[in-house]
């Protein structure tokens, strides 16, 4: 069973996801940012699934541990779709849609291939930290892709505030997650800490997206120089 603190965090995460979804729908961003909605729905489904597994098998069970890390891995794949959506927004004026789709297919194929290779090569140590390693590597690919996107945005002087904030909040999340998974990989024994830490950090994206869609009107522009240059 979940302790009261974990239960409160679980409820807060669900609430943040629902509020974020409502803000996106109210901000008329459903068609423009469909992958964000898809990601939030997947997060919601994973959280509800985790709760039912904890209820049936318990928090300390291997079933829950596997569900947690593998559902996270699938959510990172969903996050790649979100990233591709942001790439297509940034490069929309250059007509680079087909290249982005090809790139996305290549990244997905590559990730799937590498993951399959890792699973095949590590079948004897699945009980150990393989799931954490996989998550760490997938998030790290996310860090690189987000950094490349932010670099391209700075070069192209992208100034749509919503896009800028969505990319930066994504960068914060993937960096935080990749770093946390790396530390968890190095120090796996502090279960008490990680069981609160991961759900709390998973609130970042829904909360920051809710803020962006609630507070930043669709047409707002922001000079990239003000974000990049010191005291511009």
């Amino acid at each position: 069973m979940l302790d009261p603190v974990s239960y409160a965090i679980w409820l807060a995460v669900l609430l943040a996801e629902v509020v974020s979804l409502v803000c996106m729908i109210r901000g008329k961003a459903l068609a423009e940012h469909f992958t964000l909605v898809l990601y939030l729905c997947c997060c919601f489904a994973a959280d509800v699934g985790a709760r039912s597994i904890i209820k049936s098998s318990g928090y300390e069970s291997d079933t829950y541990r596997y569900f947690f890390f593998y559902s996270k891995s699938l959510l990172i794949i969903c996050l790649y779709f979100v990233l591709m959506n942001l790439y297509s927004h940034v490069f929309s004026e250059m007509g680079a849609g087909k290249y982005i789709r090809a790139g996305a297919a290549m990244i997905l194929g590559g990730t799937a291939g590498i993951s399959y290779y890792m699973v095949a090569a590590s079948s004897d140590r699945l009980v150990t930290h393989f799931a954490v390693e996989l998550g760490q590597n997938l998030y790290f690919v996310g860090v690189i892709l987000t950094y490349l996107l932010w670099f391209a945005m700075a070069k192209l002087r992208e100034n749509r505030t919503r896009v800028v904030q969505l990319v930066l909040s994504m960068g914060v999340y993937v960096s935080l997650s990749a770093g946390s998974y790396a530390v968890n990989n190095l120090y796996p024994d502090h279960n008490g800490f990680w069981k609160y830490y991961f759900p709390i950090t998973s609130m970042w994206l829904p909360v920051s997206w809710a803020y962006t869609f609630l507070k930043v009107p669709a047409g707002t522009r922001l000079a990239t120089a003000k974000v990049l240059a010191p005291n511009a």
Binding site: N137, L168, G171, V172, A178, L222
Partner: protein
């Protein structure tokens, strides 16, 4: 080796993304003109603010009821300000005046953004009070 490398790179990118994200939130506030009353409360004389005014502004913001979801923004400013204060102490200790000047200016931007949040909260609460008085 690999987890150490991933941790180090992620920490650097996290810092960069977080700083840029908070700066994008602060940049939104720069265009806002503070009301005379908020200027008086904050003790501002020009459009600039001093970093040391930030803690007092944060206290004033906490006294004022929240304006639909700006708590997230204020918490981001507070975290950024704490990071800047830490960096400010480190650079002063290392005697790098150029970095310390830049950080102090950034802390001033944080204070101005906090004053804007306070100004908006005051305006929001005035509207609510006016609505209640009219009923």
């Amino acid at each position: 080796m690999m987890p150490f490398m991933i941790f180090a790179i992620s920490l650097l990118t996290l810092l960069q993304f977080f700083v840029s994200y908070t700066r994008s939130l602060i940049a939104e506030s720069r265009e806002h003109q503070l009301s005379d009353q908020t200027r008086e409360i904050c003790g501002f004389t020009a459009k600039t603010a001093r970093g040391d005014q930030f803690p007092r502004l944060l206290q004033l913001i906490e006294l004022c009821p929240e304006n639909s979801g700006d708590g997230f923004k204020v918490r981001a400013f507070a975290l950024y300000f704490s990071l800047l204060s830490l960096a400010y102490s480190v650079f002063r200790w290392l005697m790098v005046p150029a970095a310390a000047i830049w950080i102090d200016a950034e802390r001033g931007s944080c204070a101005y953004a906090a004053a804007v949040a306070l100004d908006r909260r005051i305006a929001y609460n005035r509207t609510i009070m006016a609505q209640q008085a009219s009923h």
